[in-house]
Symmetry: C2
Subunit: 308 residues, 2 copies
């Protein structure tokens, strides 16, 4: 699937994620291509255009503000019947998704790619009612997907190699970072990693070592910028000098293990919630995500220009 | 302690961290100020100048290449006797540090600030042989400190409020991010957070979900750039919209807990080492830290220019 030829992309669901994908696809459509949005909201066309108009302009190319390319439809059959790609960003509900894919399968072209943006419901469950389960793959973005380069490709054991490969090619051709996960692991990779750090963060605030705002400042002024440039393995491999990661663990493996042994394994409902929710609200109020997104776009720009 | 007046800073130890602090201090000295390096290496002056010359020039200001301001001394007494600040970046060895501070205390001015760069030995242990334990505080950098803004200030229960405050003022006056930790927790905060994520990263590679290089790409294209701009609490608080962090946990707290429950709690010596050390070596060889440091400097530049 080359990015040059005519391409028909249908988005199912015009929530936050669906709209952000719409902005992304608009930036990468050729003149003959078509973007369709299927949703059951009233006044769908107006809603979509107004919502996209609120995005921070520094995060969008000019073409992603050409809303005339968007077709808003309320008939699922009509929306998918000639699509090359059908990308679902609907409610996180297994019944919804498994019924949707059975219906999509009845109307969509046989070789259309079927993508789910789910953050937690594996393709193997979503495809339960499908006749051909080889067609579905999870394409999990990091929010918001019109800015963040990562897509986690999570096939079920029945997803075909061809579907995985064509999906990967689509995103690579558009300068994105699609990573193929070899197992349908709970929460996928990015969230598991982030939540592991969040768990320790909650413990450290809950036990009074630092405040919510102080913890954020620590991350923003240390591992955030570092990991924007070199991920954790690469960073610690560098930290070990010529002996690499092995040298790193030889030098400070004892401290690493001490931290792991001492880690605070909080759980949802343990009672830390009130203190931490309140501190976050007092520190941040309602966050201006447009400012955050503009700054993130700049960070990604300088990293990409620095090469790897 | 204003940054304007004459200031005498003495660094103890000319290893990687000590030299990086030397580069930082050189950039911030006034013309009347003085930087002294104490170390027992032969040909200390030549060694220091050659080592600093190898730093990536984009990460240094012009003044931090004016090596004429550095005094290299092999007598501890001479190095500390008129210092305002004595910053230790010596071996991670309790005996070395506790003996050092007892000796420093005998020769240094009574109100000199005493800072340890240790990544793991708390001030309460280092000060064991000191007469006045209120003077010592850990000032733990994120490597390399001439680039990374974070300094974790970790007092012992006996460190005076005045020492904490003067230390904080020093770094804030120089545009850095000093964060005061209220408890001497194992590994301090930044490393605990990073090692929590690393633990899950090792588990995910060890169980074959992704490779070392793929895991790094995931972090570099998602939470790295995000957390350079907004730390984890702020990010998830934003993710919850107007309901903030509370809304975030209401929406996906179930997935968060599922990830925590399923987390892979690997330990040092569990047998994952061979696979992961080998993959890191094959993926990265010896990392060019100058390129990494140049790119990190650019990332920090755009974040700082974006305001907060």
């Amino acid at each position: 699937m080359e990015s040059g030829r005519e391409l028909k992309i249908t988005l199912i669901g015009a929530g936050t994620i669906g709209l952000s994908f719409a902005a992304f696809h608009l930036s990468h459509l050729t003149s003959e291509s078509q973007l369709t949005i299927y949703d059951t909201r009233p006044n769908l066309e107006t809603y979509v255009q107004e919502a996209l108009s609120k995005f921070d302009t520094s995060t969008l190319s000019n073409s992603s503000r050409d809303f005339s390319k968007i077709r808003a439809l309320k008939s699922l059959q009509e929306a998918v019947q000639d699509a090359d790609i059908i990308q679902e960003s609907g409610p996180e509900n297994l019944n919804f998704k498994s019924e949707l894919w059975a219906e999509v399968e009845r109307h969509a072209p046989r070789d259309a790619l079927l993508w789910s943006s789910t953050s937690g419901i594996p393709a193997s469950q979503q495809s339960a009612n499908m006749k051909d389960k080889s067609r579905l793959i999870v394409v999990h973005p990091y929010n918001p997907p019109h800015i963040m380069p990562l897509l986690e490709l999570v096939p079920s054991p029945e997803t075909s190699a061809d579907v995985i490969e064509r999906t990967k090619e689509f995103w690579e051709a558009r300068g994105r970072v699609p990573i193929h996960l070899k197992k349908e692991v709970t929460g996928f990779v990015a969230n598991r990693l982030a939540f592991a750090l969040l768990r320790e963060a909650i413990h450290l605030v809950d036990t009074g070592v630092v405040s919510v705002a102080e913890l954020d400042k620590i991350v923003e002024s240390s591992m955030g910028p570092r990991w924007a440039v070199a991920g954790p393995f690469k960073s610690y491999h560098a930290g070990g000098g010529e002996a690499g990661l092995k040298g790193f663990f030889k030098n400070i493996g004892g401290t690493v293990q001490d931290c792991w042994t001492d880690a605070g394994e909080v759980n949802v409902g343990d009672g830390w919630e009130q203190k931490i929710f309140t501190e976050a609200k007092e520190a941040y109020g309602v966050v201006d995500t447009n400012h955050r997104d503009g700054a993130t776009t700049k960070v990604l720009g300088v990293v990409q220009n620095s090469g790897s």
